[in-house]
Symmetry: C2
Subunit: 249 residues, 2 copies
């Protein structure tokens, strides 16, 4: 069973200020909870009989009806867990010999979650986020990461200050940059992606050392299409990794 206060606590964790106050965030579903449990000890787990049978772990059994009432999802999935927010250790500089991401004001939780997931795919271990980027422990982000949040470090920091002391290459995509497919990219550095509507801020743009462009492929120059930021991140990371793998082989 689950108490009314516990349900109230779970619901309250949809808000950042409550996550801060309680030092907790919510994850749901076997995949996301399972991946997080490999790296983090949950503070509490509420699960249906079905999940407890499979996982043999310490969990409070709840009914399907209780699951529905406690869940933040439209389609609840067997288990809800509360995890402690990772400690905000003062982050080191991004390592210059590997790829890291910097997000400058990515505001949509779905985009942030998708970017964390694809960073995991491409073996990127650190994502540096400006303070106005969406909160990585927002339940919508947590669910969109599909468990990758357990494997990627998220660091909130004033990007332009951190970049001022960074010794590696800083890459950004712009409309007037060099064709990414025709540019020789390094195996390390920081890739900056900007806000959904406004792109990279002026302060951060002034720190970019290599301006790149993802070229469009059609004849009509005046067409107004654009790429979603998660899609642009995927294309950029893919090209870095492709060049790296070609150079190695």
């Amino acid at each position: 069973m689950i108490t009314r206060n516990e349900i109230r606590l779970i619901k309250s964790l949809a808000e950042k200020k409550n996550r801060r106050r309680e030092g907790l965030f919510v994850a749901e579903g076997p995949k996301v909870v399972g991946d997080l449990m490999e790296r983090m000890k949950p503070a509490a787990v509420f699960a249906t009989h079905q999940w407890r049978e499979l996982r043999h772990c310490e969990a409070r059994e709840i009914s399907d009806d209780e699951l529905r009432r406690a869940s933040l999802l439209q389609h609840p999935q067997q288990v809800i867990a509360l995890f402690p927010l990772p400690h905000e250790t003062r982050p080191e500089m991004p390592p210059t010999d590997e790829l890291s991401l910097a997000l400058d004001g990515v505001q949509d939780p779905g985009n942030l979650g998708t970017i964390i997931r694809l960073a995991d795919w491409f073996g990127i271990r650190h994502i540096y986020c400006s303070p106005d980027t969406a909160d990585a422990y927002n339940p919508k982000v947590v669910q969109a990461t599909m468990g990758s949040l357990a494997r990627v470090n998220i660091i909130y920091i004033i990007l332009e200050e951190m970049m001022a002391g960074y010794g590696g290459e800083i890459y950004g995509t712009f409309l007037d940059g060099d064709d990414i497919y025709q540019t020789s990219l390094g195996s390390g550095g920081l890739i900056v992606m900007g806000n959904e509507g406004n792109g990279i801020s002026r302060e951060v743009a002034s720190r970019v050392t290599r301006r790149l462009l993802i070229p469009r492929f059609h004849a009509e120059a005046d067409r107004a299409e654009s790429l979603n930021v998660a899609i642009a991140t995927a294309i950029t990371c893919s090209e870095f990794r492709r060049q790296f793998s070609v150079k190695k082989s």
Copy 2:
């Protein structure tokens, strides 16, 4: 002003069966409505004073309050338009000398919208969808395309039947395919992307002539990360276009 029946009609068009019955779909916001109006004549436009001032087009003026009441969006934006559903012409075969996409059961409206948008970026003109793929005229899809729906043809068809008569290469991504970065790709053909959970169906997979793999980049072989289908589509299309541009230059 807008009547109560008109608001009821707009709301009803969130459902596919009502879109079919009325032969209409809804688009909202200056960007999406503007792009669609370049290619299609709307059946009705309801807009606030702000939008009408700018566009000088035939539109019924509504108040901000009416906009809020009629909109399907959480954050309504100036204009709501109804467009006739494009006629379901019996589709031709995909051309073999250009790239087209085939979607086999992509069910999330956000994913479908994002794929339509990135197809537009990469100059892909036709997307062939299995009948169980999300409906492209679902309001969530329409909004996620950011206007690209005006420039990309969407054809619903039984993919395995169409593929049986197709003369070009059919590409699909699988866990046991050839590294896409190390494979010579053509400038034409059909790229198949599968369902979010189950991938490409058996019937369609048996028609694939070139099995590709998007490689992961990390040391731990047992890790369970995956790529969102829109992200995988972006990486695949990007690599096709990169190889094409490198061969040309």
